[in-house]
Amino acid sequence: MRVDLIDRAMAASGAAVRAIVYTMLALPALLVIVCSFTSGDSLKFPPTGFSMRWYREAWQNELFMTALWTSTYIAVLVSTMALAIGFAAAFAINRFAFPGKGFLQALAFSPLIIPAVVLGIGLLQLFAKLNLTQTIYPLLLGHLVLAIPYVMRTILASLSLHNRVLEEAAMNLRASPLKVIRRITLPLILPGLLSAAIFAFVTSFGNVTVSAFLTYGGHVTLPVQIFTYVDTSYDPLVAAVSSLMIVITLVIILVIERLIGAGRVA
């Protein structure tokens, strides 16, 4: 009896919490999407009329479209590289015995706690000394640094959970370490890898504060473009461009899912 009651109370409160969580997470984005279809001139809710007008404008706006492309390919590059670097490091920390692990984890985690403005200016100074400011490297490396903590945390948590018995068994059967990693470790931590890749993508795709210092001439990322656009004008164009960002993220998530193995994850 008592078991039943507690179970039911938990199920009910769980459902309520989930309802609140999903509403809370989706609502701001949904409002923006809804507003992007307005036919009016100003961004307000409820929107006036329905039209694709602002999407046409966005499509014709060279600045936004170039920025969208820049953001996307930087984010894809960053997530690929971050995943490789992060997995290697997390694997080393989790599977080998050596001193200073705590320090390494703190190192990997540190980009998060350094205020973005500080990192942005610091990187700008560094790249200016290296005479690389007017290239793509500052954005790429800056975002990579930002993505590392997310990737490391997620992969480390996954690695520390999954059972090593399988790996050891395979090793005892004289499977090469690479094969063990490919056949056993990677498949086992796939969900972790997927979240890591998505974290990395999203970190790079959405970043404004560090990017603002690292963009140059032809390579302005979309969030920076939006940020400056919004500084002087706020029209539904911004909502339309933001909705496009959502669509791109969806596509990327689905692609990552396909690549890593459909059905297994997410």
């Binding site: 100003s42 307000k44 046409r56 404008e57 014709q60 706006n61 600045l63 920025a67 942005g120 200016i121 700008l124 100074q125 200016a128 005479n131 400011t133 007017q134 603002a212 210092f213 963009t215 140059y216 001439g217 302005v220 920076v224 473009q225 940020f227 400056t228 656009y229 919004v230 500084d231 002087t232 004008s233 706020y234």
Partner: protein, 351 residues
Amino acid sequence: MIKRRTFLKVAATATAGALAAPYVHAESKKFSGITLRVNGYGGLYDEALKKSVAAPLEERYGLKIQFIAGTTSADFVKLIANRDNPPYDLFMGDSPNMVELTKAGMIEEIRASEVPNVKRILPDFREFGHYGVPFSVASIIPVYNSKYIKQPIASYSDIARPDLVGRAVVMASATYGSLLTLLGLADENGGSIENVEPAFKVMSAAKRNIVALAQTNVAEIQMFQNEEVYAGIFWDGRAHELRTKGLPIVTVVPPKGVYSVTTYINVVKGIKYPEAAYAYAEQLLSDEGVLGVPRALRYGVTTDVTLPEELRQDLLFNSQARIALKKKVDWEKLIANRSAWTEELNKIIRS
């Protein structure tokens, strides 16, 4: 609609140019093949400059202008960090930025020999000697929504009026909108740039009124639009923008004087094509160029240009008498005091 038309026009010009260029214009366009990079202010501001300055230059000289989006402070930091390889050829900045720019020694002096239209600049609108070419002026003034505020606001200090409880807004503490507000308040209450204590007194009294400090112009626009606030201190061009959105916003001209910032274009030192950059400045100060920003955003002009009637009605500085109200600001001193004032204001406002 305007933007789309501009886009089509630019696209058409560009296509026509691309087709025609190899045959006819190759020699006659003296700056063809050159692209100048300007730090953009973003949005409609850049659109206005593209239409009134960049498009004519391209048509006439084949000169291309690239507006690079960024915030002025981040752009400035980029400029300073890349002294030897400047990321911009032309740098736009407001009066307070000019202090830093001249101090950093990164910009050229500009004289009438290089840019003849400099002679057309109104007296007192060029605040930094031969540095910088002023092309637009924005004023910070009291504004209110007449639908809710029946007793007109008359001065900066009215922001502390008891009937505005929970209904007022001023610009965020570190912005120069807020620094100028402090100067206006000090001025009206027996203080000065040397002594802003009276301004802080007014701010303390206004604390109950002030719902929030607006971090950006757009944030303040939204607060007015959503009727979170009925009164505030804001830029003149933005008040006009609110009116175009259908709000009954009244612009107040403070009788004791108006505080404004001037926007300058600068030619960065050590760039490849200074001649092309001077041509930009010249076009910016021409009738066509200088009216670009006012036409789009209703900020004031800096030259002796004759204002078209519809602009004359909307602009704040539309007569000799009005221009006489424009207060001179010691920008150097303002910058020196910025940190202390910001800190003080933050302490007052924090609840």
